[in-house]
């Protein structure tokens, strides 16, 4: 066990955990930020996606000891849950079971921050690491396009 200071959603958190603990379980179990989801544990499905210095990363496969930088989770994506992607997701009525959607939104947010007007191919590539078994992909794509049109790089 060791002490770590993490910058998450512009707040500083001190945690006392085993250094090999994946960031995912630090967020969910040690800090109580449960919006980030466990899906596969091997960076294969994207359910656990968070931002590390603005890049979309899979928190299930990143040991806390390797975390160097600022983390943003879904809880910190926007102040009032009104990021253009969150708004578009609601407007297009994307979620079915809803479990993967936080990871989807975090991947999309990193994409729009990097590329405010993504092409179809950009979207396909950026989102290819996120699985949705409900098959909401067409609505996800529509929502990303809608958010981009409304200035989704917020």
């Amino acid at each position: 066990m060791a002490d770590f200071t993490l910058n998450i959603n512009q707040r500083s958190y001190n945690v006392h955990v085993s250094p090999d603990t994946p960031l995912l379980w630090v967020l969910r179990d040690a800090i109580g930020l449960k919006g980030t989801k466990f899906g596969c544990g091997k960076a294969l499905c994207g359910a656990c996606t968070v931002h590390l210095d603005g890049n979309a990363i899979r928190s299930c496969s990143l040991p806390v000891s390797a975390v160097k930088g600022k983390i943003v989770t879904i809880e910190g994506l926007s102040e009032n849950g009104d990021h253009p992607l969150q708004e578009a997701w609601k407007e297009i009525d994307v979620p079915q079971c809803g479990y993967c959607q936080v990871g989807q939104i975090m991947s999309a947010a990193a994409l729009l921050a990097r590329k405010p007007q993504p092409s179809d191919e950009d979207i396909d590539t950026a989102m290819s690491g996120n699985i949705c078994r409900c098959g909401t992909y067409p609505r996800i794509k529509k929502a990303i396009i809608m958010a981009a049109a409304k200035g989704g790089a917020k």
């Binding site: 066990m1 955990v17 085993s18 090999d20 603990t21 994946p22 379980w25 969910r28 179990d29 040690a30 109580g32 930020l33 449960k34 919006g35 980030t36 989801k37 466990f38 899906g39 596969c40 544990g41 091997k42 294969l44 499905c45 359910a47 989770t73 879904i74 809880e75 849950g81 992607l85 969150q86 997701w89 609601k90 407007e91 009525d93 979620p95 079915q96 079971c97 809803g98 479990y99 993967c100 959607q101 936080v102 939104i105 979207i123 396909d124 590539t125 989102m127 290819s128 996120n130 699985i131 949705c132 078994r133 409900c134 098959g135 909401t136 992909y137 067409p138 609505r139 996800i140 794509k141």
Partner: protein
């Protein structure tokens, strides 16, 4: 359907008191309570109207992504005559007053339609009656509008909140008038998911998000070989992991709920996972270790090539036609085991105390969880509270409550709240797979190219055999009344189940996810043998006359050829089936299941590598009255994509009595770049509503592979589609 029984207010209070929901305290005390207490009008367990004008609607069934947390309350709100945006939907507990609460068979809308309409209409009627007393006007001169009651004589308006207390004193009427469908304001519109905001902000509570005071987390090592058992274990290393509290051996419960294994229980999830990595368990694998995909397939092959064990249907003289017909076609189709892989891995949280028990987690069958808890703990059911969280996908996997039994067993043993969390590897290894099967088809045409004989010999692993439920009316994985049965004068269907240690269960559109592929592929084959257009050939077999076909299975007792032909014709029209565009090829399939009619068309082109590329898909669905247009279209679209993924990638193979796949690297899923454009058309209808969670899925396999045949002349008879066979 059931009418709401006449219950006097006094009895109602008593009944409510017994169930202990504690929601109706306002009734009795409001008359002499001076302080500002909200009075609640709760004429039934489905809704609650507060004197503060709050309108609460309870969502009775588990929400697994099929949209019932939105669509079922919409039905209540419609009859209640309230503004949808001013209602609040709350997930109900498992509560006998709400009737059956489960997610399975796409049944929620059709089973609850009448009950929920009655629930809303009853409340509305009582509120009108309360206003009529207040105003001393006849009831028929009062009417409800937007959460208020108005009258035809003057401009007075009373809100539901103002009427709540008075209404709560009235007798609950036995029968109430329901709205005419032409007056629907909510039903048939597109409403967004009631939890959307919570989902996109990460605050929606899924089972895995349950956190209870003093909760421990358990992960479980189960025998990798199906049917094996624990002979011993060494937990010395596991107990050294910081945070690990207990290592517990779990004994078998029954052959179906396979809970046996060794659990590592810790303060947090990661400690439990780490402890498990160094746990040593000795297994006795048993006979299961000899099973593999090849040995199972060999048995299928043996059975489809001889007389089947179960005669399902036999009409005319199939053999005589085959002997004497010049145009006989025969083919063998195969489908693999499929894993459910809902995105939320199996997990469950149990807090078993001395005399009561609280349960939280993702399940399609909260009632089964309660029964399991009763049998494991001995605590009577009325002391077992089942809290329903959102469910991160079900697809049939969570019709089994084995993982809930894990949690209940461990919590019971440790006398502490315990959350069991499965890894993705556990999820795939210990799934109850879609049965694998082989289907030998044979059919003949007469001299005018009419379909005159059809035979199916099927052999599959059986979910019924697996759970030893042979008494069920549905004992096979095929449908003796399904198309083209009843349209072909000489027809035979035989079935042989294969017993295996490999667990099998219901997987989205059970049975149909295989039979629609084989029937709709082989009918396509016969259309080509007959040299007829595949759409025309289907319509010809169905016949010009409209018929109600007997259908002794879920979705029956009959199905309508008129409605089936209608979706076929509409799909042909919408997809411009008959217009040929150079370089694109179309495939067609249509199917009736669970009460709904679906036709789909897939248009493909061949890319530079000579592989099929989907250009567009059309789906026409007749599910009767549509409740939530947005939800309905989402189900259809999602089902098609899910089905397409299974068709192209889905396969679990068995080696040495274990699943050879373990995570999304080896069990591939469809991803965004493979998801095609889908056009959906819902048939306008006044027929009773059907569910939609499963119906669009089965049809897509054949629509896609039929398109591949149209493009390449190669008939795909084995799933998943082997792309190398197409490009070669």
């Amino acid at each position: 359907m059931s009418t709401i029984a006449k219950i006097r207010r006094r009895d109602f209070l008593k009944i409510s008191g017994i169930t202990g929901t504690g929601l109706i305290l306002g009734f009795g005390i409001s008359a002499h309570a001076k302080e500002n207490i909200t009075t609640h009008f709760e004429p039934n367990a489905f809704l609650k109207i507060g004197s503060d004008n709050s309108i609460l609607i309870f969502a009775k069934n588990p929400e697994i992504g099929q949209g019932v947390k939105t669509s079922l309350p919409m039905i209540i709100a419609e009859e209640l005559e309230v503004d949808w945006d001013k209602t609040e939907v709350v997930q109900a507990l498992l509560d006998p007053r709400l009737g059956a609460q489960f997610a399975g068979g796409s049944t929620a809308v059709k089973m609850n339609w009448q009950t929920l309409r009655n629930a809303g209409a009853t409340a509305k009627h009582m509120l009108i009656a309360a206003a009529s007393t207040e105003w001393r006007l006849p009831e028929n001169e009062c009417y409800a509008e937007n959460g208020t009651v108005k009258n035809k004589r003057n401009k007075k308006v009373l809100t539901y909140g103002q009427l709540a207390e008075r209404a709560s004193r009235l007798d609950v009427p036995q029968e109430v008038k329901l709205k005419d469908s032409k007056d629907f304001k909510i039903i048939g519109t597109a409403k967004k998911g009631v939890d959307n905001h919570k989902i996109v902000t990460g605050t929606a509570e899924f089972g895995i998000d349950a956190r209870k005071e003093g909760m421990l987390v358990a992960v479980i090592e189960k025998c990798p070989v199906y049917g094996g058992k624990v002979t011993g274990y060494d937990d010395s290393e596991a107990m050294k992991v910081e945070g690990v509290r207990h290592v517990v051996k779990i004994d078998p419960l029954n052959p179906v709920d396979r809970i046996a294994g060794v659990a590592v229980v810790a303060d947090n999830t990661w400690a439990a996972i780490k402890g498990r990595k160094v746990l040593k368990v000795n297994w006795e694998y048993g006979d299961g270790a000899d099973e593999n995909s090849e040995s199972i397939t060999a048995r299928f092959r043996e059975y489809v090539n001889k007389k089947g064990r179960i005669d399902l249907r036999n009409e005319g003289d199939v053999d005589a036609i085959f002997d004497n017909s010049a145009k006989v076609n025969e083919a063998i189709y195969e489908v693999p085991f499929l894993s459910h892989v809902p995105m939320e891995p199996m997990n469950y949280c149990a807090d078993v105390r001395e005399e009561e028990c609280h349960l939280w987690g993702p399940t399609q069958v909260p009632g089964s969880v309660q029964r399991l808890a009763e049998s494991i703990t001995g605590i009577p059911r009325d002391k077992i509270t089942v809290h329903m969280t959102r469910v991160g996908g079900g697809f049939g996997r969570r019709l089994m409550a084995d993982y809930a039994a894990d949690a209940i067993t461990i919590s019971h043993a440790l006398k502490s709240p315990v959350q069991v969390v499965w890894s993705r590897e556990d999820d795939i290894h210990h799934d109850y797979f879609r049965p694998a099967g082989m289907y030998k088809l044979k059919a003949a045409l007469d001299e005018r190219n009419k379909l005159v004989a059809w035979e199916l010999k099927a052999s599959t692993t059986s979910r019924y055999l697996f759970r030893e439920a042979d008494q069920s009316p549905h004992v096979t994985e095929v449908f003796p009344d399904g198309f083209p049965a009843g349209f072909v004068p000489n027809f035979r269907m035989e079935y042989t189940p294969v017993k295996t240690v490999v667990p099998t269960g219901a997987w989205r559109a059970p049975g149909h996810n295989a039979t629609a592929f084989i029937d709709q592929s082989f009918i396509d084959e016969m259309a080509y043998v007959a040299d007829k257009d595949p759409v025309d050939f289907r319509l010809e077999v169905l016949g010009e006359e409209d018929r109600e076909m007997p259908y002794s299975d879920h979705g029956g007792p009959t199905y309508s050829t008129k409605r089936l032909k209608n979706v076929i014709r509409l799909a042909a029209e919408k997809s411009e089936w008959r217009s040929k565009k150079k370089g694109t090829y179309k495939g067609f399939a249509a199917h009736f299941m669970f009460g709904a009619y679906v036709a789909e068309v897939v248009s493909i082109s061949m890319n530079a590598k000579n592989l099929p590329q989907i250009e567009e898909i059309w789906a026409v669905v007749d599910c009767g009255i549509v409740i939530n247009r947005s939800g309905a279209e989402a189900q259809i679209e999602g089902g098609i994509i899910d089905g397409l993924g299974a068709t192209i990638f889905g396969e679990v193979t068995i080696a040495g009595g274990m699943a050879a796949q373990s995570n999304f690297d080896t069990y591939r899923m469809i991803r965004m770049h493979d998801a095609p454009k889908i056009n959906i058309h819902l048939v306008e209808s006044n027929e009773a509503p059907e569910g939609l969670g499963e119906m669009s899925l089965p049809v897509i396999s054949a629509a896609y592979t039929n398109a591949i045949f149209a493009a390449t002349g190669k008939r795909i008879r084995k799933l998943p589609v082997q792309l190398s066979e197409i490009s070669s």
